[in-house]
Amino acid sequence: MGRSITLRKGAISASTLSEPPGVLVAKRHHLLVRWSHWLNVPILLGLILSGISIYWSSPIYQHKPDPGNGNFDVAADIGIWICAHVPGLHRYRNPPDWIYNHMSLGPGMLAPALRLHWLCAYAFMLNGAVYVIGLIAGGGWRGLLPRRADVLDGLRMLRYYLGVPYAKLSRRQWQHPRFDTKYNALQRAAYFSVPLAGCLSAATGWAIHKPIQLHWLAAIFGGFDAARVWHFWLMWVFILFVVPHVILVFADGWDTLRSMITGWSARVKRPEVRAHEQ
């Protein structure tokens, strides 16, 4: 694919002056990157739902049992708080189970949750391998690597995002920081660290799953119990990534969403602009 494009690019530069220009499109994401990207949606959903069901059977965050109701699980406390404070939930039948009824397969579902978790975990690792192959085959991995200027550029992006609501309300011009790379510094930081979090999730998962045969792996994360804490918070990395990720894709527009489905982006500078580079 890449080869045929370069050939046609040569043909275009010879004839651009005489013919009316079509749409200039860039191939932004390799087919395997796109597939594995979307497969992550059901896989991560399955991992999180079953993971929280597994968490229920032995919560990491516990306190001394409440003398009133015998509850010791912080997640149950949060459910009780939600049912007491959110309008319309006052009559919820089992407040301590609210979190598990809404964020997992439900309480008392350990056996099915474990099966679903293993299925999704193996799928997640395979899918991660496909993603890496796609990054290498399409050369996309270079676009994810951190740069020296990323800290400052990232702060500029952050300032921009924080200023957007005020600029919209006051109808002022608010310039998006300029960058001529595939991603801006904040995107790059996110897209670099999420695959890293994926690797860490798999590693901590194995450490918890096989704490005897792979005890050296559990030891890297500070032992079996600490590896469980790591694994739990790595889940939150995905949740906290996905929320702004989805919002920003829609804010950024159709071209960005389309590029993850079809691979093409029509937001490309004309080759004349780049001509001086060659």
Partner: protein
Amino acid sequence: MNNKARGFFGERPLPTVEMEPQVLRRRTRRDLLLFGAGTLAGLAGAGSLLPQSPRESWLLNSALRIDDDVAEALYSENRSVPTYTKSQITELKNNYNGATPDPGYIPGWHLVLDGLASGVSIALDIRSLVTRFSIHEQITRLVCVEGWSAIAWWAGLRFDGMIRAYPPISQAKWVRVESTVNLDASGNPDPYYVSLDLATARHPQTLLATHFNGQVLTVEHGAPLRLVAPVKLGLKNVKAITRLTYVAEEPRDYWAERGYSRYDGI
């Protein structure tokens, strides 16, 4: 030239191509339709393969089987389980699934061995076990399928020593470990049985434990004899064993019948 200046890790410009607007539109439409069809097919597939009755789901069963095979491949009879010092011992809760049995069974208790090469079944009482076999101590971690774990100090005879003293039938690949004193939550008899592969039974740190934290086992921890197999999840570590049966085919397993893994190697 340019690529050299950027170095191996430098970002390259995206490959571009000029195309007719209609071509881009047509390709976008085609890919969107394919994507939508794929999503629908995925949803339909997930709907028919997942929850409702997880134990009959082919997909979930395969994942569990693959995971058991991985666990078996990771196991080695020569790899020893990490041991701990006495200062690292933690509290071990009584995790009997149902009610804790009444200690009345202990005085009349004996261990029955079946499936022996000799063809006869043998009954041993606790005194003959303790005097006949040498006692080994170890401080190992017991890991529960629920996610908690405890570091506990055990003493008992090696399962391997028992196998050598009373050799199983030559075809034996499994041992069925059974407790008839187990009770359900309302206190009714609920015999407990697990399958244990002989490779695990022969591991030097697989014990038939008689002591816990330096004391004779209490009824909460499976007096007078319990299995301690630190390479397996806690649910295989049967308390108050009453019978060991060596068999050629994989025997039934209490928790596998309730939707859990059957190998449980950790």
